[in-house]
C-alpha cells in the first residue's frame, strides 16, 4: 500500500490544499515536507531493489476483463527517475517560495508530484497513460495562471499539442493489447506483435513530442518562456524526462528490433534537433527563448545517445538527461528572475549584471558553462560519454555532434557578454536584484549538483549502469 500512497496521497491531497488553503502560508511547508518524504521513499525503494528486474509493489483496482490493473513495479531505471523527480520537486519548491497565490500553486505542484510518480511506477500501459495525461493538467494551470504575458497561447498550445501526441500513444497501447492480449509492459515482447512497425512509429512520434524532438518541438519555446521560472525548470527537468524515459523504456528496450530498423530515424531527428535548435538559440535575442532552444538542442543529444541502442549509449543518455535537468533548470530560474525584476526579455536591454548581482551572475555562468559542456561539470560528462558511445555505434563521423557544442559555446558565451558582462545598462541599474534566500538556496544546490557530479560522476554511473545491465546481459539487446 505504501507505493499507492506515494501516488494518490498527493493527488487527493491537492484538492483540500487548494480549497482550504487561505494563504496562511502553510501549504508550501506541507508540500515541501511531502516532497522530502517522497525523496526518502525513493531512496528506500532503491535500497529494496533486486539485482535485476522489477520490484513488485502490488496491484490494485484490477479489471481482469480489460487487463486494466494498477500494477506498481519499479526497476532501477524508474527509481532513478523517481529520485531525479523528487530532487527536482524539492528544488523547484524552494525556488517557488515567493509565488503569488501560493496555496493554489503548491496544491498544483503536489498534484503534479503524485501524477509523475505514477508515470514512473506503473507498468500497466493504461495506467501509465492515465498518469502521463494527468501530468498535463497541473502544468496547464501552472503555465496559464502564473505565466507571463503570452501565457494563454502557450498553455493552450502546450496542452493541445501534447494531448494530440498522447492520442497516438494511446492508440499504440490499444494495438499492443489487441495483438498481445496484455497491457503489462513487463510482459509484452516484440514477437507478440503483428504490426510492430506501426506501433513503434506511433509511440516514437508520441514520445518525440514530449521530449521534444524536431519537428515536434515548437510547443516548448512558448511553454517554457511563458511559464513562471520554477515551472519552466519543472518542465525541462521532469516533464521532458518523462518523454525520454518512455522513449528508452518502450521504444527502445521493449521493441529492440524495430528500434534497430529505425534507429537511423532517431539518430537523424536527434541530429536535426541538435543543430536546428542550436542555431535557433544563436538567433534568439530573447533570453529565456535562448535557454529553451538550448534545452531542445540538448534533448537532441539525448536522442542521439538513445539511437545507439547500446548499453553505453543508453547510460550516456540517462546521465545526460539528469545533467540536463540540473543544468537547464537554474538557467531558466535565473532567466525568469531577471525578467521578473527588469520586466524585459531582451538580452540587448541587459548588460553588466555582474556588477549588480555577482553571485547570481556567477551561477548563471556556471550553469551556462555546464550547458556548453565544460569539463568539471555534468555537461561535459554527458558529452564525452555520448561522443564515445555514438562513435562506437555509428562510426567516426559522429564527431560532428561536437559542432553542436561549438554552437552552444557561441550562444551561451555571447549571452554572458550581453547579460552579465560589459557596461551596466540603465535597466539593470534601476532594477532590484536582491534574491529571496530560498530561491538562492535552490540555485546554489543546483550549482553544487552540477559540479559534484561533474567531477565525480561514478556514483551516478553505478546506478545507471546497473539499470541497463540486465537488459544487455540477458542477451536481449546487443
Amino acid at each position: 500500500m505504501g507505493a499507492l500512497y506515494l501516488i494518490f496521497l498527493p493527488i487527493f491531497l491537492a484538492l483540500p490544499l487548494y480549497l482550504l488553503g487561505r494563504n496562511f502560508g502553510v501549504v508550501k511547508y506541507i508540500a515541501l515536507t511531502l516532497f522530502v518524504y517522497m525523496l526518502t521513499q525513493s531512496v528506500a525503494l532503491y535500497g529494496q531493489l533486486p539485482e535485476a528486474g522489477y520490484l513488485d509493489l502490488g496491484s490494485y483496482l484490477s479489471v481482469p476483463a480489460f487487463d486494466f490493473v494498477l500494477s506498481l513495479q519499479v526497476d532501477r531505471l524508474s527509481v532513478i527517475m523517481l529520485l531525479l523527480t523528487s530532487v527536482m520537486l524539492i528544488l523547484v519548491g524552494l525556488s517557488s517560495w515567493r509565488m503569488k497565490m501560493e496555496d493554489a500553486y503548491f496544491a498544483l505542484l503536489v498534484f503534479f508530484s503524485g501524477a509523475i510518480f505514477g508515470v514512473f511506477m506503473s507498468t500497466n500501459f493504461l495506467w501509465f497513460f492515465i498518469f502521463w495525461e494527468l501530468t498535463l493538467i497541473p502544468m496547464y494551470f501552472l503555465v496559464g495562471i502564473w505565466g507571463a504575458e503570452g501565457r494563454i497561447y502557450a498553455a493552450v498550445k502546450f496542452f493541445l499539442y501534447t494531448h494530440v501526441a498522447s492520442m497516438l500513444i494511446l492508440l499504440a497501447f490499444f494495438l499492443i493489447y489487441k495483438q498481445s492480449g496484455t497491457f503489462d509492459m513487463t510482459m509484452v515482447k516484440e514477437s507478440m506483435l503483428m504490426t510492430p512497425a506501426l506501433i513503434w512509429w506511433l509511440m516514437f512520434v508520441g514520445f518525440a513530442v514530449k521530449m521534444p524532438l524536431f519537428p515536434f518541438h515548437t510547443w516548448l519555446p512558448d511553454a517554457h518562456v511563458q511559464a513562471p521560472a520554477p515551472v519552466s525548470a519543472l518542465l525541462a527537468g521532469v516533464l521532458l524526462k518523462m518523454g525520454a524515459y518512455a522513449m528508452i523504456r518502450m521504444v527502445i528496450l521493449m521493441m529492440p528490433e524495430q528500434a534497430a530498423a529505425y534507429g537511423w530515424v532517431i539518430l537523424s531527428v536527434g541530429l536535426v534537433s541538435l543543430f536546428f535548435a542550436g542555431f535557433m538559440a544563436l538567433h534568439e535575442s530573447h533570453l529565456k527563448k535562448m535557454v529553451a532552444y538550448s534545452s531542445i538542442s540538448h534533448m537532441g543529444l539525448v536522442a542521439i545517445a538513445i539511437s545507439t541502442l547500446s548499453f553505453d549509449g543508453l547510460s550516456a543518455a540517462l546521465f545526460e538527461m539528469i545533467g540536463h535537468a540540473f543544468i537547464i533548470s537554474p538557467l531558466f530560474l535565473i532567466a525568469g528572475f531577471i525578467h521578473h525584476r527588469t520586466g524585459s526579455w531582451q538580452m540587448g536591454d541587459m548588460g553588466g549584471l555582474m556588477q549588480r548581482a555577482p553571485y547570481l551572475s556567477a551561477l548563471f555562468v556556471l550553469s551556462g558553462l555546464a550547458a556548453l559542456g565544460l569539463p568539471g561539470t555534468m555537461g561535459f560528462i554527458g558529452e564525452i560519454t555520448i561522443l564515445i558511445s555514438t562513435i562506437q555505434a555509428h562510426g567516426v563521423w559522429m564527431i560532428i555532434i561536437l559542432l553542436g557544442s561549438m554552437l552552444a559555446a557561441g550562444y551561451l558565451i555571447y549571452s554572458f557578454r550581453r547579460v552579465i558582462y560589459g557596461e551596466m545598462s540603465p535597466l539593470i541599474r534601476e532594477s532590484d536584484f536582491s534574491m529571496p534566500k530560498m530561491e538562492f538556496l535552490s540555485l546554489l544546490l543546483f550549482g553544487l549538483l552540477i559540479i559534484v557530479f561533474g567531477l565525480y560522476p561514478q556514483p551516478l554511473f553505478e546506478m545507471i549502469n546497473q539499470a541497463f545491465q540486465s537488459y544487455f546481459s540477458a542477451g536481449g539487446l546487443s
Binding site: 519537428p215 547510460s315 561514478q458
Partner: protein
Amino acid sequence: MTLTVLLLLPFVGALLTFIAGKMKASLAFWLAEVIGLILFAATLILFSSYTEPIVVNITWFSFGHNTLPFGIYIDHLSLVMLLIATGLGALDIHFAHDYMKEDPDQARYYAKVLFFIGGMILLVTAKELTALFVGWEFMGLASYLLISFWHQNSAPADAGVSAFLYTRFGDIFLFAALGLLFYYTGTLDLQKINALASNGAIDSGVSFVIAIFIFVAAIGKSGQFPLFPWLMRAMEGPTTVSALIHGATMVNSGIYIVARMFDFYVAADALVIVAAVASLSAFIGASSALVQSEIKKVLAYSTMSHLSLAFIGLGVGSLAAGMTHLTNHAVFKALLFLGAGAVIMSAHHTKDLWKFGGAYKMLTLVAIFMGIGALSLSGIPPLSGYFSKDAILVDSLVNPQTNGLISTLTIIAGLLSIAYIGRLWVLIFAGKPRDKALNEKMTTPSKFWISLPLGIMALVTIVLGFFQTPLAEYITGEAFEEVHLAYFAPLLLGTMALIAFVIYKFYLANTEARDKLAAQPLMKALHQLLFNGYYVERMITWFAKSVVVGFVARTIAWLEHHVVDGAVNATVGLSSAIVARLSQTHSHRISNQAGAMMLGALLIISILLIKGL
C-alpha cells in the same frame, strides 16, 4: 603527498583565497603568494627527488562497457612545464601585489589565477587525454575569466568572448581527437598511444587526421594562424595575466601537447603540416609586430611568432629545439610582459608606444631587465634565446621537407624579432620624451615588488643560456647533437646587426626619413595590412557574424517560424475556415431543419439500397 598538494592545492586554494579575500582584501594576496610558493616548492621537491616517471593510475568513471581513466604521469617534460608554470606563477603573483594593488576585486583575481595554475598543472601531469582535456579547458576558462576580469568595460568583455570562442573552436577538435583515439586505439593513455603509433598499430591515415585535429586545438590555444586574433585582444586583461597566461604558460600548452605526442606526430607524418602552419604564423606575427602601436600588442604578436618558432622546432623534427625554445621564451616573454606591465603601471595605464620615450631615467632597472629580455628574444648570444632560435632556423634549413618556403619564412620571422623588439625598447626607453606631461607623471616602481621578480627572470634568462644542452638532454632523454652550418651564425648575426642599425636610424637618429617613407601610399596600405593582422580577424568575424548568425541562423529561424511552427499555428486558421464552411450548412429555420432531416434520411436509405439490397 607532494603530488596531492600539487594537484589539489590550487583549486582548494582558489576557493580559500576567494573566501579569505572577501573577508579581508589583503588576505587574498598573501594567501595566494604562499600557495604559489608552496606549489613551486612542491615542484622543486618533485624535481630533485625524481628518479623515474611517476605514474598514478586513477579510474574516473565507467559507463556501459567503457571506463574512463584520469591518471597522472610525470616525466622530465612535465617537470620542465611544471617548473615554468609554478615558478613563473609565483613570480607573477608576487608582481601582482603592486600591479593589482588598487583593484577592489583582488579576491576574485587571485582565486582565478590559482585556478589557472591548477589547470596548467593538471594539463602537464595528465597521463591520459581525459585529464589533459580537463586541464586544457580549465585553463581556457581561467583565461576567459581573467581576460574579462574588468568585466564592467566593454572591451575586456568582448575580448573574453573572442578568446573563449576562438580557443573553443580548436578545443572541439581536441575533443573529437579524444573520441577518435578512444575508438581506434581503445586507450587514452598518451604514452601508449605514442607507442602504438610508433609500432604502426594505428592506421597512418587515421593517425594523420587525429594529429591534424590535435594540432587545430594547439593552433587555437597557442594563437597560431588563423586562430590568433584572440591573443591580441586578450591584451585587454590585466598585464600580469597577459604575462602569465598569454605570454608564458597557457599559450605553451599547444606546443606541449604536440611535444607530448611527438612520437605520434612522427608516425603520423604530420610534422611538416605543423611546420608549415607555424612558419606562416611566425611570419605573420613577426611582421605585424613591427607596426603595432600598443606595447602589449607588440608583445602579443611577438609571442605568436615565437610560439610558431617553437612549433617549427617540433615540426622540423627536433623535440629538443622546440622545447628549449619554449622554455627560454616562457622566461624572457614573462620578463618582457611584466616589464611592460611595470612601464604601463608607472605611466598610469598608458599603453601607446608613441607617448613614451626617454623613460630610461625613471625606470632604469626595468629598462635594463627588459633589455636583457629583448636581447634574448632577438637571439643575441650568449643569452638563452640565441641558442634555441639558432637551432630552429638551422634545423629548418637542414630538413629537406622544410627547406624552401618554410625555412625562408622562418628565417625572416627570426630576423624580424630584433626589429620589433628593438623598436619597442627604443621607443620606450631611449631618446627624448615625446609626451612631456606623461613623463613627468611617471613614478619609479617598487624594488621589492616589481624589480625583484623582473631581476630574477633576467637572471634566469642569462643563466639558461649556459644550460641549453643539459636542458635539451633533460627533456628528450637523448644526447643532444647540435646541427651546425658553418656559414649560418655569422650571416645571421650580421643581418641582425644591419637591422639593428636600421632601427636605430629610423627611430632615433633620423625620424624624418621614416615619416616620409610611411607617407607613401603603398607603405600606408602595407602598414594597415600589418597593423590589422592581415585582416584575419575581420574575415573570421565576417564568417561568424554574417554567414553563421546572419544567414544560417536567420534562415533556420525563418523556417522555424514560418514552416515548422507555422504549420502548427495554421491549424487554428484551418479549423476556423472549416467551421465557417460547416456553419453555412446549419440553418436555424425549422422548415430547413426538418427538410434536412428528411433529406438525410433519404440519403442514408439510398446509400444502403445502392450498397447492398
